[in-house]
Subunit: 378 residues, 2 copies
C-alpha cells in the first residue's frame, strides 16, 4: 500500500482523477469555454476576491515570477521576508529581473513579526512591494499576512504580494477584506490536483501597477491572460486535462464550503501537532505553525533516514528538510484530499520509524492525543 | 462517438493515459529521478542531438520564450520568419524582451525561400538569431529548415532557432546534423500527450550564447533546468502526471523507431493531400506542405460552418483558420496517435459536411485516392 503525504504533491481525489482521465476536449471548443468561465468564477470564490483571478500552465514558481514581472519596474525596491526556501525565492526572482530587495532575514522556523515589517517599510518608504509567504512550506510556518496587508493597505505606492501556494484552500485568506494585492496559488496543494497549474489573483491596486510595469513578460502576462480568460479562452494552449481536474476540484471545494474546508484543515493540523508533542517529538515551528504542513525536529536521529524508512517500511512518502534543514526535520502534510485517518496514519508510522531508529517515544500517547482533538470536534 | 483531429491537442494513447492516471509519485523520490533521467535521454533521441534536452512545465510558447530569454541580449537583432500566427509569435516574444527584429513577412500559406533568408542575413550581418517554424501550424506550411540551418551554421555569431512544436516526431529534424542551435517542442502534438509540457534542446553554440545572455529569466532558465535534469531532478515542481505520460510516450516512439514514425506521418499527410485534391477541394499550402496538418481552402462556404458541422453532425473536432484565415480554411491534423483510418474518417466527414453546405465534391473519388496512397505503401 502506497501513501503520499508530502506537502505538494498531495493525493488526487478519485473525482479529480476521473475528470482528468476523460478524453481531451479541444481548448477552443465551446465546451471548454464554459469550463474556463466556471473555473474563473470559482477561483475568485476561493481567493475571496471581486478582482481578477486566472490560472496559468506552470508550477507555482511561474506564478510567483509573474507576480513580480507584471507589477514592478526595473530598479524598483521590494521588501522580501526570507524565512525559508520560498521566501528566498521571492528575492531570487526579484534579482533575476533587476528589482532591488530589502530582505528581512528570519531564522528558519520562525515567523516574521509585524514590527519587523513595519520597521522595514518605515526605513524603505519607496518600497513598491512587500513579498511574503502565507505558509512557508519549507519550515511549516505561517506569517501574519492579515497584519502585514493592513500595514501596506494605507500606502498607495506599495503592494502586498502573497505566496499562498500551500495556504489557499487551507487557511482563511480573504484577499479583498485583508487588502492583499497579488495572491498566488498552486494546483498540487489543497486543490489536490497534480502539479502543473498555478493561480494568480490581482486587486484593482495591483492592476494599476500592472499598467505601468516595464519588466519583460510574455507567457506570464497577467494582462493577456485576464483578457483571454474573461472571454472563456486562454492566452496559450492550457494544460487541458489539469484544467478539467481543476474544475472538478473547485466543484468539490464549493460543495464543502470555505468554512468547513478551513475548519477541517485546522483540526487536522491541531491533531497532528497534539499527537507529535504527546508522543515526545518536538515541533520545529511551535509559535506560528502553518495548518498545511507540520515540520518536526528529527529526534536526535538523521531526518533523511526517517524519510527513507517511512517509504521503505511503510510505503509512505513524506518530505524531509530542504537546504539548511536537510536531515534536521521531517514534514507531515495534512492538506487537500486527506482526513483524520491520514493524520493517524502519519503519526503512527513516523512514531514507529523514529522509535526503530532509536528515539524514545510514547507513540500510543501521541495517537490518543491526536484522536482526542478530532473527537472534541464531534 | 467523439473524435479529436485538431493540430494540438491530439488524441492521447491508452498507454499514455494509463501512465498519467497512476497515483502521483513524489517528484523528489528516487523512482521519479529514474524517470527524469530516462526522459532526458529519450528526448535527446527524438531531438537527434548529443546536446542538452530538457522538458519544461508550460505550453510550447513558454519554451519559445525561453529560447529567446536564454540566448539573446537586450538590443540584439533577430531575424524572424513571419509566415503565420506562430512566426508572429517569435517577433512578439522578441519585442517583449527588447530584442530588435528584422521580420521576413511571407504571405500566409507560403514558405520562406532560402534566398530570402540569405538576403536578410547578408543585409543584417549583426543578426544574432534566425527564428523559424519547422511546421507553421496555422497555415500547414513546412519551412526549409535544413537549408536555413546550413546558412546560419557558418556564422559563429548567429543562432538557428527552430520552433519544432508541431514538427518534432513528425518530420525528420536531425538537430546536430543540420546545425539547429535551439529546437523547441510541445507535448500535445506528435507526442500525443495532453498540453502542459514543452521541450527545448540546445547546441554547444547555443550554450555559449546562454553564458552571455543578459535577458531576465527565472522559471524558464535553461541553465538551471539543464543542471537539475542532468541529476534526475527538476528546477521547479514539474507536472508529474504529464512527465509520467511523456515517459510512456517516448517509450512508444522508441519502439516504433524514428524512420517508421516519420514514414507513417508522411504517408498520412500524402494520403490526406491526395484525398483532398481528388474530391475537388483545394490545398491552402500546396507548395511546401507540412506533414503534421493539412490546411484546406473552404470551398466557397464559411470555414467556421465546416468546423461547427463537423462537431455537431459527426462529433469530430477539427480546427478552423486563425486570425486572418478565420472562415477561410479548415485544418485536418494527422499527427500523433492516429492512423490511416483516422485519415479516411477525416476525409469522409469533411467531404460530407462540405457537400451538405453546398460544395460540389466527389467524396468517393477522394477516399479512393487516399486509400491508394496507403495501399501503395504495403
Amino acid at each position: 500500500m502506497k501513501r503520499l503525504l508530502t506537502p505538494g504533491p498531495t493525493p488526487v481525489s478519485p473525482e479529480v482523477a476521473a475528470a482528468m482521465a476523460a478524453p481531451l476536449v479541444y481548448h477552443r471548443a465551446p465546451a471548454f469555454k464554459e469550463v474556463v468561465l466556471r473555473v474563473r468564477e470559482n477561483l475568485r470564490w476561493v481567493f475571496q476576491t471581486k478582482g481578477e483571478a486566472i490560472f496559468l500552465t506552470c508550477s507555482g514558481s511561474g506564478a510567483m515570477e509573474g507576480a513580480v514581472a507584471n507589477t514592478l519596474n526595473r530598479g524598483d525596491l521590494a521588501i522580501t521576508i526570507r524565512a525559508g526556501k520560498f521566501g528566498e525565492r521571492w528575492a531570487n526572482i526579484c534579482k533575476a529581473y533587476g528589482v532591488q530587495t530589502h530582505n528581512i532575514d528570519i531564522e528558519w522556523g520562525k515567523a516574521v513579526t509585524v514590527e519587523q515589517v513595519k520597521k522595514a517599510l518605515d526605513e524603505n518608504p519607496k518600497a513598491r512591494a512587500v513579498m511574503v509567504q502565507a505558509s512557508e512550506t519549507s519550515t511549516g510556518v505561517a506569517h501574519p499576512v492579515k497584519e502585514i496587508a493592513a500595514l501596506v493597505k494605507s500606502r498607495p505606492d506599495t503592494l502586498c504580494v502573497v505566496d499562498g501556494i500551500s495556504a489557499l484552500g487551507v487557511m482563511n485568506l480573504p484577499m479583498d477584506e485583508w487588502g492583499i494585492d497579488v495572491l498566488v496559488g498552486g494546483s498540487q496543494k489543497a486543490f489536490a490536483l497534480p502539479p502543473g497549474l498555478a493561480f494568480a489573483a490581482v486587486s484593482a491596486k495591483a492592476q494599476s501597477f500592472m499598467e505601468k510595469s516595464d519588466l519583460p513578460k510574455f507567457y506570464f502576462s497577467f494582462t493577456k491572460e485576464i483578457a483571454s480568460q474573461s472571454k472563456g479562452e486562454t492566452a496559450w494552449t492550457p494544460a487541458i486535462s489539469l484544467v478539467m481536474g481543476l474544475d472538478a476540484a473547485l466543484n468539490g471545494m464549493k460543495a464543502e464550503g470555505l468554512e468547513k474546508l478551513f475548519g477541517r484543515h485546522k483540526t487536522m493540523a491541531n491533531a497532528t501537532r497534539a499527537g507529535v508533542k504527546a508522543m515526545g517529538l518536538e515541533l520545529f515551528a511551535p509559535d506560528s505553525p502553518s495548518d498545511s504542513v507540520t515540520a518536526i525536529k528529527a529526534p536526535g536521529i538523521d531526518g533523511q533516514a526517517i524519510v527513507k524508512d517511512m517509504r521503505d517500511r511503510h510505503g509512505i512518502t513524506i518530505a524531509g528538510g530542504q537546504d539548511a534543514l536537510k536531515g534536521k526535520i521531517f514534514r507531515l502534510s495534512h492538506m487537500g484530499h486527506v482526513d483524520r485517518f491520514d493524520v493517524l496514519t502519519a503519526l503512527a508510522a513516523s512514531g514507529d520509524v523514529c522509535t526503530r531508529l532509536g528515539a524514545r517515544l510514547d507513540v500510543a500517547k501521541g495517537l490518543a492525543a491526536s484522536e482526542a482533538v478530532f473527537n472534541a470536534q464531534n
